[in-house]
Amino acid sequence: MNGTAAQPGLTSQYSDEPRARRRCCVWSVLISSVDADELRHLLAQCALGDRRAFETLYRKASAQLFAVALRCMGNRDHAEDVLQEAFVRIWNSASQYDAGLSAPMTWMVSITRNKAIDQLRKHREEPLSDEQAMALFDPTPSAHEQLETHRDATALQRCLDTLEGMQRQSIVTAYFQGASHSELVTQLAAPLGTVKSWIRRGMERLRRCLES
């Protein structure tokens, strides 16, 4: 819909920090076509209160962030609320964005996920709808399988593949569902100690693999 359509062959990065350059393939071609320098510039303008820059930023990033919200929430209405909250937060805290610390899209994805996690926690206090329960227990449309369809040998996917099945599944579940340890115990049907060690070891291996 806006500039975010896939442009095969483009491997430009959100961040030109050396750390990010080393992992040059973490980003898929789908979103790497949104230029990191431009997003960084727009965020700086937002920090100065430039509404026009904010609209441009929204037009460039909202479709990708909506996909993230949708993947977390599994429901369009809730995902719209999350996206709205996320962009209000992005506008209000643009001045806190630290370009030396993270790529602009990473920062915005983190804000969106945090808003989604807040919402999921709120909804979890209510009984789950059938749709949500299905999303939790139906293993078919998992992020990992979606990754398989985009097997462009990106660094993260390669590293995820080095993990054991349950390490991988617990990380992906935690990332998109924002579940606490005890909730993961229920979802993954394993004892707390086991789930913790899957995630801890999985995360450490992932980091080592990405940094190697």
Binding site: L30, A67, R200
Partner: protein, 224 residues
Amino acid sequence: MNYLQPELRRALAADYAIGLMPSTARRRFEGLLLDDPGLRAEVAKWQESLVGLTSSLAPEAVPERVWLNIVARIEPQRLHVPPRRPFWSGMRVAALACTLLVAIIVGVIYNRDTPAFNAVLVADNAQPALALQAFERYLKVEPLALASVQAGRSLELWAIPADGIPVSLGVLPDDGEGRVELSARQRELLGAKTTMAVSLEPKGGSPSGKPTGPILYKGQLASL
């Protein structure tokens, strides 16, 4: 807990980045992040590692109402109400009234700033409550019989175009009288199919950009 231990810091940053912390622990951790650049860097590294999980998600078209809601949230409209003056003598009021009348007549003749639409908003019992006139760049709001609003509440004015999604035009002053300046986007919303509504909201207007309280008055715009 000793937050200086590197393994613990790394593990906590990982838990935070992936979303494992319960709400209270998360808030506490965010407090620590504020004064600890090293910890922020640790979290940023984890976030950068994990963000690739979202990279296979195809962009999804976002309905335009999301943007309109965001704009309503970040640009709260306020009515411009002149401050109240102490009581003036009858002569001065009369003189002022005459001057205003002349100014209005001259203004109307030279600017032709006539309202394009008007509406009378009625309560559930069909009692007229509020008159609106939509001019080129602003809305004029005049109370007819407004219910009194409790302290801590505000009346918020909404335009509901044909698509049915309410857009905030601003919070009414307590006595209901004033002008709402219209942005270009808001002007586009106003037409013969637009319903105008007033809802009861927390002080300062709806926090969510959508009506949260009951609709007290409504009415449709009509062209003159």
